[in-house]
Symmetry: D2
Subunit: 421 residues, 4 copies
C-alpha cells in the first residue's frame, strides 16, 4: 500500500476513503485483493452503466483485440469507427430525430466540453458562456471556467473568465421565478452581461449534489436560448447513456440541444471515449482545428457499438432503469422519513440519486460506514453533503435492495451516533 | 465511406490524406479492409513506439481482460496501478536518480499538460508560463495557450493568455546568442515580462517541424530556470518513451526537469494514458484538486508495465533506436543531397526525423505519393513543410530500408515533377 | 460649426443634441455665441454643483493664477495641496469621523476608480470585483469592466473580466429579497463565484437611469461586505459633493465605505480633479506604484478648498439641497401624474432626479423640446428612457421653477404628440 | 509638512526627494515657501514645455476666466474648442500634411492611450497590441498592460494581457538585427503570436530611461506595420509638443502614424488635456462609445491655442530646441567623459536627455545633490539609473548652463564620493 503514498501524488482522493487494493470486478461487484466483494453504487462515477466487465462487451472486445484489429488510429477511417458511427446513427440519432454531426474530441469528458465551448464561440463569434451554480464540466482550463466548485477552480492558478454563472433550477428555493435574473440581464443593455455565445447545462448535476432540473425549467431554458440566439449545450457526460432512463437525459424534457457532450459510459466498458455532438449546420470546424492523440481509440468504439446493440435497440433497459430508479427513490424516501428530524432529504432522477445529510460531515461518514459494510458510494455537493448513488443500470433488484439496506444501516450508524468531538 | 462524411465532423483530418478503411495492424504494418498493407512511419503520432498490437503486450492485455480484472477505477488503489507504479519506480525513476511523484492527470497528453501548468502556477503563485515558437502542447485552453500554431489557437474563440513565447533553439538561424532575449527580459524590471511561473519545452518539437533543441541549449535553459527560480517543465509526450533513444528525451542533455509530462507511448499499446511527474517537494496538490474520470484506466497500466518490463530493463532498445536513428538520418541525408538544388534538408534525433521540403505543398505531396506506394507518414511544421518520420522503434532494419526507399521515390516524384498549375 | 464635423471624431455626442456654440456661463445659465441663454439642468454631468464660474471660487482662482502660484506639480508638496488636504480633513473628514487617507489618482473619475480597484485587489490579494447592473464607473479598461452599459463595454475591443455583476436595489422589481443571489453565491463553495476582493457601488446610479439605492439596501450591502470580508467601494463621483444633500451620498444610510471615489464637483469649478479615499490601514501602496502626470493640478486644489470653505462649513447648502430636491420631486410627480396613462414615473434623491418616459425615444425627444425652450438636460438609463435633472445645487428656486415649467411643457409636447412615423 | 504624511497616501513619490513646500513658479524657476528658487529641469515630467506660468498664455487664461467664458462643457461645442480645433488644423496638421481626426479622450495621457488602444482593436477586430521593452503608457488597466515597468504592473492586481512585448531599438545592444524577432513571429504561423491589432511605440522612452529610437528603426517599424497591416500608434505624450524639436517627435523619421496620442504639454500651461489623433478613415467610433467628464476643459483649449499661436506659427522654437539640445548634449558628454571610468554615458534627442550612471543608486544620489544645489531633476529607467533632463523648452541658455554646471558638480559629488556602506 505504501507504493501509493510513496509514489503517487497527494492529489489522489477516492482511494483515501477506500483503503484497500481492488483487483477484480464483475457486474456490480468489485473485489479487493483479499477477495472481499463490494457492491458498487459508484460505477466509475457513472462510467460503468452496464457493470464491470460486462460479458457481452467483453466477448466482443477480446475477439477484437485477439484479431489484431486497429487499436489506435487518431482520426483515420477504421472499420470499428465506421461501425460505431452507423450504429450510433441508427440506434440513437435517427429514432430521436436528431440530425447531429459527431466529433471525437479526445478521450475524456473534459475534451468534449472544451470542443463544445470552442465550437460555440467560433460559431457565434462571442465569448461569454452561461453556466450554472454547482455545475461540473471538467478540469482543463476551458471546462474549469464553467465549473462551480471553488477548490477545483482554485487549482487553475490563473483567473477563469469568459463565463457568467446563473442560478440552477430551484437554486434559491423557489423564492424567485425561473430565469428572472438571466432574462433581466439579457434584456437590459446596461446589465453588464456581454452577449453570450452559449449556455452549458447538466440536466441533473451529479457532482454538484444530484440537483435535478425539472422538465419545465429545461424547456424554459431552451426557449430562452432560442429567443436570445444562444447555443444550448447539454453536458450529458454523467447523465447520458441511460443514467436517468432514456439514452439522453434531456429527452424527457422534449428539448433538442444545439450541442451535446457524451463520455463516461459511452464506451460501455470503462474505456476512455468522448463525443461532442452538434447540429449539422454548426459544423464549421476547419480540418484539424481541434485535434488530439487519443481521438481514435478503436476498442472503445467497438465496445460502444456492442453496448448500443445490446441495450439500446429496444426499450427494455430504459424501462428497467425507470423502475429501478423508482425503487431506489422509494427506499431513500423511507430512509429520509426515518431521519426527518435530522433534516435528511432525497433528490434525483432515474438511477442518479442522492441522500442529503445536512449535518456537517455526515454524508462522508455514511459513505465510510457503507464501505465498512461492503458498499461503495461517493459524496457530492459543494459541502460533500450528499451521499450519491450511481449503481450500474444493470444492477439487479436484489443487489439494489442489498445496497439500500446497507445504506439504511449506515445512515442509522451516523445520524443516531453521537457526533465525534 | 460516406458514413464518415455524413456523420463525422469536418474537423477530421488525417483520414483526408488516407482515403481507405483501416482494419488490422501488426507491428509496423497496417492493413486496409481490402487487405492491402502499409508500412506505418506515423505510429499514431508517436503513440505506438512498440508497434501495433505488440505480441508481448497483447498477451498480457488479453489475459488481464479475460480475468475480469479492474478496467476502470478512477483513482482507487488497484493491483494494476500498484504494479505500474512500482515498476516505473524500479525501471525508470531509480536508475535515473529521479525522485518524482507521479500524477495520473487524465487519459490524454493535454490533461498532463494542464496538470503541469496548474501545479507550476500553484507552487509558484505566479501566472505567466514561458513557451517556445512552434511548440505544441494540446487543445484544451490551458495547453492551447502555450501552443504556437495559429490555426489551433484560432479555434479557442477566446484570447489565450498567461503565456509568453520565446524563440526555440536556432529559431533565428543563429543570428542571436541563445537566450539573449529571454535573459534580457528576465533581468530587466522594465521589460514588461511579469515574473514567470515556469518554462515549458519540448526537446524535439514534433508537431512544430521536428525542430531539435541541442543538448547545450537545453542545459542553458535549465541553468536559466535555476538562476531565475522558474520551474522547468519538459513536455515529453511525443519524444519520451524512447523515441530519441533513452527513455526520457532530456537524458542526453543531462538535465533534470522539475515537471515532466508523458503520454502517447507510455501505455505502449495505444491505450489512452498520461502522466505528470514532478519533484517530490512540488507535490502541493490538495486531494481531488485536479480530478477526472479516466485517470484510472487499468488496462493501460497493465500494458505500460509490460512495456517497461519488456523494453526498459536493459539498454537494447535504446541502443537499437540510436542505431536505427543513424540509419534513417543517413538515408534522409542522401535524399536531401539528391535534391540539394531544391533546398531539401533534414532534421531530427533518434527515430524522430524530418525531411524539410521548402517548396509550397511539396511535403504534403510527398506524403501522398508515399501513401500511394504503401507508406504512412504525416507532415508537420507551421506550413506543413516537413515530411515527418516516426516509425515504431521496433521497426526492423529491413522495414526501415523499405520505407526509406519508398520515401526516396516519393520525393523524386514530387520534387522532379512539374508543379501542378 | 463644420469645424467640429470636419475635425472632431464621430465619438462626440452631447453636442449632437445641442447644435449651438456655447460661449459664456454664469451660475445656472449658459449662453451661446448669439447671446441666447439656457438654463443648465445638466451641470457638466454633475461637475458644476456650485454653478458655472461661481464668483467666490472665481475670485480665488484668478488671484491664484495671477500670483504665479504653482499650477502643475505632479505629487510634489505645494501650498495649495497642503491647504486642500487640511481643509478637507477639517471640513469633511473629521466632522464625519472618517479616518481616510487621500490619494490623488489622476484628474478624472475613471482614474479614481482604477486606483480604487487596484488598491482593493492589492490589499485583498483577490481579483473579482462585484459590481451592479447599470453601474457606470468609467471608460478605462479597469473601470469599464465594472460598468454595465453594453455600448461602452463593446468599445473595449477585448473581453472585460475580473468582475461579477449583481442586481442593484430593486432591479427585479421586488420579486426577490435583497442580496438573495449575492449571498447565495458567497455562501456556496460550488457557486462558481471566486471569492471577491470588493464591491463597487453607486448610491444613486446617475448614468444608469437615476436608480436609487435605499438606505436599507446600502446598509444590507455594507453588512454583507463586513460579513464576507469584502472591501466596500462607494463611487461617489456623481452623487458626492452634496448632490443628494450631505457631502457624501452614503451618509444618509449611515454606512462607512472602505474606499470612496470623488471627482466631478470636487474642484467645484469644473477643473479636472479626482480623489480616492480609503481607510488608513488600507494604505499599502508603494511610493509611485500608481502615478500619472495630472495628479497635482493646483488650481483645482485651490478652488476645491474655496468650495469647502464656502459651502461646507455649515449645513446651509445641505439643507437647501434637500428642500430644493423636494421641490423638484413634487413638480416631477405632478408631471408624472399628468401623464400617468403614458406610464411616466419619477425617481431620485436630493437634486439628482429623473423622469422616466417609457415610450421609445420619448425622453430624448423631451430633452430636445426642452433645449428648444432653453433648458439643457440629458437622458440616462440603458435605453435613454430617463430625462435626468442635475441642476447646480446653487440654482435658485425661481430658476428651478422656470426649468421645471419648461420640462412640463416639453413632456406635454412629446407625450401628447403623435409618434413620428 | 506633516499634513502630507498624515493625510496623503503613501503612494506619493516625487515629494519624497524634494522635501520642501513649493509655492510659486515662473518660467524655469520654482520657489519654495521660504522663497528659495530652484531651476526646474523636470518641467512637470514634460508638461511645462513653455515654462511655468508662461506670461503669454497666462494673460489669455486670466482674460478667459475673468470673462466668464465656458470652463467645463463635456463634448458640447464651445468657442474655445472651435478655436483650438481650427488652430490645431492650421498650425499643426495642415503644414505637416496630416489628415487626422481629433478625439478628446479625457484629461490625462492614459485616457488618450486607452482610446487609442480601444479604437485600434475596434477597427482591426483583433486584440493583441505589440509594445516595447521599457515602454510607459499609463496607469489605467489598458495602458498599464502595454507598460513595461514591473512595479507599476504589479499594482494592477490582475493579470495584464492582450499585449506582446518586443525589443525596443538597440535593446540587445546591436547583437541582433532590428525586428528580427518581431518579423519572425509575424511571418511564422506557428509562432504563437496571435495576429496583432497594432503597435504602440514612443520615439524616445522618457520614463523607460531616455532610450532613443533611431529614425531608421522607426521607419523600419512603420514599414513592418504597413507590410503586416498593423496600426502604428505613436505615443507622443512626453516627446510631442516640441520636446525633441519638431512638434511631433516622429517627424524627423518621416513616418506617419495611424494613431497619435498627445497630452502633457498640449495645453501648454500644465492644465489637464489630452488628444487622440487618428487617420480620418479610422474614425469608426459610435457617438458616445468612449466618453468621460473632463473631455471639455475649455481653459486648456484656450491655453493650447495660445501656445500654438505663440510657438508654432514659425520655426523659431523648433530651431532653438535643437540648438539647446545640442548644447545640453555637449555638456553631458563632457560630464560623461570626465567620469568615463565609472561608465557614465549619455542618451537623448532634442531637449530630452539622460545621463546614465551605472552604479547602483548613483543617479538617485545625483538628483539629491542637484536638489541641494537648487536644481530639480528626476531619475528614470528600470533601475532608476538615468538622471533625466527635461527642462522647459523656453529655458534660456544661461539657465541651461547654470543647471548643467550644478549637474556636473552633483555628479562629481556622487561618483567621486566613497559609496555609503
Amino acid at each position: 500500500m505504501d507504493t501509493f503514498s510513496r509514489l503517487e501524488s497527494e492529489v489522489r482522493s477516492y482511494c483515501r476513503g477506500w483503503p484497500v487494493l481492488f483487483d477484480k470486478a464483475r457486474g456490480s461487484r468489485v473485489y479487493d485483493s483479499s477477495g472481499r466483494g463490494y457492491l458498487d453504487f459508484f460505477a466509475g462515477a457513472g462510467s460503468l452503466n452496464y457493470g464491470h466487465n460486462n460479458p457481452r462487451l467483453k466477448a466482443a472486445l477480446l475477439d477484437y483485440l485477439d484479431g489484431d484489429a486497429i487499436v489506435h488510429s487518431l482520426d483515420a477511417h477504421t472499420v470499428a469507427k465506421r461501425d460505431f458511427l452507423s450504429t450510433f446513427e441508427e440506434v440513437v440519432l435517427k429514432p430521436r430525430g436528431l440530425d447531429y454531426k459527431v466529433q471525437f474530441p479526445g478521450p475524456a469528458g473534459t475534451n468534449a466540453v472544451e470542443a463544445a465551448l470552442k465550437l460555440a464561440r467560433k460559431v457565434s463569434g462571442r465569448e461569454t458562456v452561461i453556466n450554472f451554480t454547482n455545475s461540473f464540466h471538467g478540469m482543463t482550463l476551458g471546462a474549469l471556467a464553467v465549473t462551480g466548485n471553488s477548490v477545483k477552480r482554485g487549482g487553475a492558478g490563473v483567473p477563469l473568465g469568459h463565463a457568467a454563472t446563473m442560478p440552477f433550477d430551484n437554486y434559491m428555493d423557489g423564492r424567485t421565478p425561473d430565469f428572472l435574473w438571466l432574462r433581466s440581464l439579457l434584456e437590459d443593455s446596461g446589465s453588464g452581461l456581454d452577449r453570450p455565445a452559449a449556455v452549458i447545462v447538466e440536466t441533473v448535476q451529479g457532482e454538484g449534489g444530484v440537483n435535478v432540473a425539472s422538465a419545465g425549467w429545461l424547456r424554459g431554458l431552451a426557449d430562452l436560448c432560442r429567443e436570445y440566439d444562444l447555443l444550448l449545450i447539454v453536458d450529458d457526460i454523467q447523465m447520458g447513456c441511460g443514467r436517468t432512463g432514456p439514452f439522453f437525459s434531456f429527452e424527457e424534457a422534449g428539448i433538442v440541444p444545439d450541442i451535446v457532450t457524451l463520455s463516461k459510459s459511452i464506451s460501455g466498458y470503462g474505456l476512455p471515449m468522448a463525443l461532442t455532438l452538434f447540429r449539422r449546420d454548426l459544423d464549421v470546424w476547419e480540418p484539424g482545428e481541434h485535434n488530439g492523440t487519443f481521438r481514435g481509440f478503436n476498442p472503445a468504439f467497438l465496445t460502444a457499438t456492442a453496448a448500443l446493440d445490446t441495450y439500446w435497440r429496444d426499450e427494455n433497459l430504459q424501462n428497467e432503469t425507470r423502475a429501478k430508479g423508482d425503487l431506489i427513490a422509494e427506499r431513500l424516501d423511507a430512509i429520509a422519513a426515518e431521519h426527518a428530524e435530522a433534516g435528511v432529504t432525497t433528490r434525483g432522477r432515474g438511477m442518479a440519486r442522492g441522500l442529503v445529510l445536512p449535518g456537517r460531515g455526515e454524508a462522508t461518514r455514511v459513505c465510510a460506514e457503507a464501505f465498512e459494510r461492503g458498499l461503495l458510494m461517493e459524496t457530492s455537493g459543494p459541502e460533500d453533503e450528499v451521499a450519491k448513488l450511481l449503481p450500474p443500470l444493470t444492477t439487479s433488484v436484489a443487489e439494489l435492495e442489498e445496497g439500500l439496506e446497507i445504506l439504511a444501516e449506515s445512515v442509522r450508524a451516523v445520524v443516531r451516533a453521537p457526533q465525534p468531538a
